[in-house]
Symmetry: C2
Subunit: 353 residues, 2 copies
């Protein structure tokens, strides 16, 4: 019996990388994407540049999509969702709905790459006025602005004279149930701070943080340059409230290094929103009967030596579907999931022959 | 033409994972390890438990070794080193020396998984007295002690009443040329702090840090428990000097949160040493003509969307050979390197047929 095709769910960086890997090794793969195009969150959210290497995000996502689009081993189904799954490892029957059309596919193994969603800073426990004040934005809003090549204070249309990032919005926060760290927001904020300083050299830029998690090479690639070359100011402090006063925003909180309360006027405030599991991640876990962890990301069961195996044999997960992940994590874990999925269909095929 | 075998160099976690992946997919693989056994740094350095999941390190490494040891696709050569390489992608001729025996192997693609070495805290720019004072240890020394099930102050043979970790020893330090962050030392220190508190409940444990880089789930899995359940004290501060006074160690530095100098007596001081490229990593880069980055880790050329491709076609690198990496990174990037190595030998075989 030849190997059954593998299904990858989600057309973001992790899903596209898994598909490319599987196809390169000569196996058939079906990619299911609910939107009308590939590219995932970087494309959907209009990222300007990737962290940490400042590569044009649109170009990078297009390159990943092109690498799989004309491969005869790859069957890409956009505008499609998985609505049901039966069977088990080596022999799943997966129902896919594309518009009015419903089809049942025989699938040998599944890779869930349904990613994350950005934390909504309007949740009631957050005192940052995101839905009240035009000049309070998120990392994602700023990314979109950076893509236009201009940074302008929304309420005035003028370039800001001062701008700050507030870290850990929606992360490291037990009150809202997100005790985890979202891993990438420090790096993204530092990267965006450099871009702001490049576009608006007169703008003073501040980053209020608890710990700057610039791990590995992010330290020397973006953290040090942001301070030394681009004169971004890092302040260890927690902002507790944002109000509006005299046409500007007022950030209240505590400067923990100076050990005193602070009250700083700002033209723009950027909330460094964290990651939460996407709707698709939670839906696919339900459809395939895969266990979620307490934060509702997909639970992996292999400890730190295997982070793609789920509670269901033959179903693997990669990228931010399993929790906070940077692009390097998403790309690498995609390969790990792809390998294990191929191993599953090979084993089933060998057993049947 | 059938595919040429793939060579994996280094029998640590990343190398073993790459070998397992390649063999599971039905390809031939030769593993070269210069020591007499597999297990890499966790085995060599006698790690007690893995970070962050506290799994027994010896058991975990033995399981990884067992998974490849009797696989007919795997040719394991311990006590062996690569001494020369010619040719290119799809057709390398690699010379392997095992004792007195020298052999030339035809190899299709290469995965370098030669890992890191721990920073030597005796370097002259470090004022921590590692070679002067018996009670100044490293994370690695403590790990070995934890494995015995007893934590004892070396100079007295008594359990310590106070113990502190000093973070960023050999990392984030331009003076010694290591501007990068070593990524794992925060997590390892937090894990070890929990183990110390479990074994010596009367011992006060402190961690002096610049930023606690407990990214992703490390935040909720080890950082919060270490503070809340195990009462470890985190102090944002930089220790600049260790001296000995009245039979105890005296840690001098600055408590940056309190904004004042500190002078704290301690029974034991643990230096959280970072990662540097191993000798094997630098040697193999030389043998295969692979470019190193300025820190002498292997340079990867694919940006954040491909972290295993080196400057030489057909030669890939994974794990800490390319820079600071935690176990999850090492395992995932091993799969990525394995996939690309397989793709290389497949392509060469298809082209020749």
């Amino acid at each position: 019996m030849p190997e059954q095709p593998i299904m990858v769910i989600g057309g973001g960086p992790s899903g596209m990388e898994a598909v490319r890997g599987i196809a390169d090794l000569g196996y058939k793969v079906v990619l299911i994407e609910k939107r009308d195009r590939l590219g995932g969150t970087p494309e959907l959210a209009n990222y300007a540049a990737l962290t940490p290497d400042f590569r044009d995000a649109g170009e990078a996502m297009a390159e990943m999509a092109n690498a799989i689009q004309d491969n005869p081993n790859v069957d890409i189904r956009t505008d499609s969702v998985v609505t049901n799954a039966e069977g088990g490892a080596g022999q799943f029957q997966v129902t896919v709905q594309s518009g009015d059309k419903t089809e049942q596919l025989d699938i040998g193994a599944v890779v869930i790459a349904t990613g994350f969603t950005h934390f909504d800073p309007g949740r009631e426990t957050q005192q940052y006025g995101y839905y009240e004040y035009d000049d309070v934005l998120t990392l994602v809003d700023l990314e979109k602005m950076l893509k236009t090549g201009e940074v302008l204070t929304p309420s005035t249309g003028e370039p800001p004279k001062s701008l700050c990032f507030i870290q850990c919005v929606g992360s490291r926060d037990r009150q809202i149930g997100n005790e985890y760290c979202s891993k990438v927001c420090c790096g993204v904020a530092a990267k965006e701070s450099i871009e702001v300083r490049k576009l608006v050299p007169d703008c003073k830029v501040f980053i209020f943080y608890i710990d700057m998690r610039m791990y590995g090479y992010w330290e020397n690639e973006i953290y040090w340059p942001s301070q030394e070359k681009y004169k971004v100011n890092y302040i260890k402090g927690i902002a507790t409230q944002i109000t509006r006063k005299g046409g500007r925003l007022l950030v209240r909180g505590e400067d923990t290094t100076m050990g005193r309360p602070m009250e700083v006027p700002m033209d723009m405030v950027i909330l460094s929103v964290g990651m939460e599991p996407s709707a698709g991640t939670q839906e696919m876990a339900g459809t395939f009967g895969v266990a979620l962890n307490k934060f509702k990301f997909i639970d992996t069961v292999g400890g730190c030596l295997n982070t793609v195996t789920t509670s269901v044999d033959g179903v693997f997960a990669c990228g931010a579907a399993t929790g906070p992940a940077d692009l390097e994590d998403s790309i690498s874990s995609a390969s790990a999931a792809a390998m294990k999925a191929i191993t599953t269909v090979r084993k089933a095929s060998l057993a049947a022959n």
